[in-house]
């Protein structure tokens, strides 16, 4: 099947205090997740500006996932609550514009949840792979 041939490019914005450590734990525990996931470390999930997400799609990402601390566990008390509202509205808007809603996701992954990190990434990569390449939010110039 084509799904196994095609490897989507995934950008994962990971909070320094939880999900990034969760990714570390996944590695330490030798839990496999696809190499197509490119992690960008951010100080808090609420550092992620909607523009970052759109720019990732522009530059060739097929899916963007944002990982932060569980609600209530933010290192800065409330950052991820703001993330939750922003992304709820942004994702709903992208969906409204006809961008496939499966290409964006927010997951809460703590530093202890290495297994959840790997499982989340595996699932997200599979979901995006099934959609195929991102055509609707790409900038053709980047492909030169």
């Amino acid at each position: 099947m084509q799904v196994t041939e095609y490897k989507p490019k995934i950008v994962a914005f990971c909070c320094n205090w939880c999900s990034y450590a969760g990714a570390d734990l996944a590695g330490n525990n030798r839990l496999a997740y696809p190499a197509e996931v490119k992690i960008i470390r951010v100080p808090c999930s609420c550092r992620v500006n909607p523009m970052f997400i759109l720019r990732a799609f522009q530059r060739g990402a097929d899916g963007v996932i944002i990982c932060g601390c569980h609600p209530g566990d933010c290192h800065y008390t409330s950052g991820n609550y703001y993330t939750r509202r922003r992304m709820a509205l942004l994702f709903s808007m992208l969906n409204y514009l006809g961008i496939e809603k499966e290409r964006t996701r927010v997951e809460w992954v703590s530093a202890a949840e290495g297994a959840k990190f790997a499982a989340t990434m595996n699932d997200f990569v599979q979901t995006v792979a099934a959609l195929g390449e991102n055509k609707r939010l790409e900038d053709l110039r980047c492909k030169l």
């Binding site: 759109l54 609550y81 939750r84 509202r85 922003r86 808007m93």
Partner: protein, 331 residues
């Protein structure tokens, strides 16, 4: 036709100039034709007597001009505010964008403003003059005689679904205050939500691809008061003077709508000024509709000092995944 005449407004302005309450006034200036009214700053009663107008073509909202003008001079500025303008006025106050003490706001009722493009479309090219009569807009054309456009067909879209005839800010009110209306303004958003993703994408591609990136939507927007816009900032990496690809058109409009989400009062100026008639208000209204559905009813500008939904949260907010699902259920 408007409830108040030019003379009522002019007399009040004259009195305010005369007793020294104000030393300049924002008002609408007569154009070359009946419909091309220019927002302007008057510095004397004489100027106002000569050029001031108030009729069905006074759509321009003065709130944003106050941001810069209140920084100049010591005297007060008279500003006439239609009900929808008062929401922008309040929102700017909430964001501490101008000094309230330097403004004298006079609320005036509004019966809806005309959309000249609609009148031109209804009455072909060549308009000699337009008069507002009881039965509608009578367009005196150059070549096809007089044509009457029913009022409901000649009004701007934003006025047809007017959200409020109530003034939420003023120092004094001329005429009667109205009520917050039960508006059908989200119907068009719901219609889009009911489409499938491909149809929605096609719709927005068709609309946004006309964008010439003149920035009129941003420059007129009372919520867009950044000193340097991210799209003008050479260090932002997204500065661009032209939408080179469909991605750039989309990004500009998504980000702009997002930047005003929770602060947009739905005044509709963006769609009014768009030279390509892109229904930009449908982006803003989607955010407003979602905010209402997810976080409770919120009208930006309804009161000074209210906390905007995007700088607020509750621990029980819904997850982004659910939001996308619910945003699709047009209730």
């Amino acid at each position: 036709m408007q409830a108040l005449t030019r003379e009522v407004l002019l007399d009040r302005a004259k009195a305010l100039f005369a007793d020294g309450t104000v030393d300049r006034a924002y008002g609408w200036k007569r154009g070359e034709f009946d419909y091309d009214v220019t927002p302007g700053l008057f510095r004397s009663v004489e100027e106002m007597e000569k050029e001031f107008v108030f009729d069905d073509f006074c759509g321009a909202n003065f709130s944003k001009y106050l941001v810069e003008e209140t920084r100049k001079g010591e005297g007060k500025i008279l500003v006439f505010l239609k009900p929808c303008d008062t929401y922008s006025f309040n929102q700017l106050l909430t964001e501490h964008r101008f000094d309230r003490e330097k403004v004298y706001a006079v609320g005036i009722p509004c019966e809806g403003m005309a959309d000249v493009t609609k009148l031109k479309a209804e009455a072909a090219e060549g308009i000699r003059s337009i008069t507002a009569e009881k039965e509608g807009f009578v367009v005196h054309t150059l070549y096809d005689g007089d044509k009457t456009v029913p009022r409901t067909e000649g009004l701007s879209e934003r006025c047809l679904v007017c959200k409020s005839k109530k003034h939420v800010a003023y120092d004094e009110l001329l005429g009667e205050d109205g009520e917050v209306a039960d508006s059908a303004r989200f119907d068009e958003v719901a219609r889009l939500e009911a489409m499938n993703a491909d149809e929605r994408f096609a719709f927005w591609q068709r609309e946004l691809s006309r964008c010439i990136r003149c920035n009129a939507c941003r420059d007129v927007c009372p919520a867009c008061t950044c000193e340097t816009c991210v799209f003008n900032n050479p260090n932002s990496g997204v500065e661009s003077k032209a939408p080179v690809t469909s991605f750039e058109e989309q990004m500009f409009h998504i980000i702009r709508a997002f930047h005003v989400a929770g602060r947009c009062t739905d005044c509709g100026e963006c769609s009014r000024v768009c030279p390509q008639h892109i229904p930009l208000h449908l982006l803003n209204r989607k955010f407003i509709k979602d905010i209402n559905a997810f976080y409770g009813e919120y009208q930006a500008g309804a009161e000074v000092g209210s906390r905007a939904p995007l700088v607020n949260y509750t621990t029980a907010d819904l997850e982004p995944g659910e939001a996308v699902q619910r945003g699709n259920e047009h209730a």
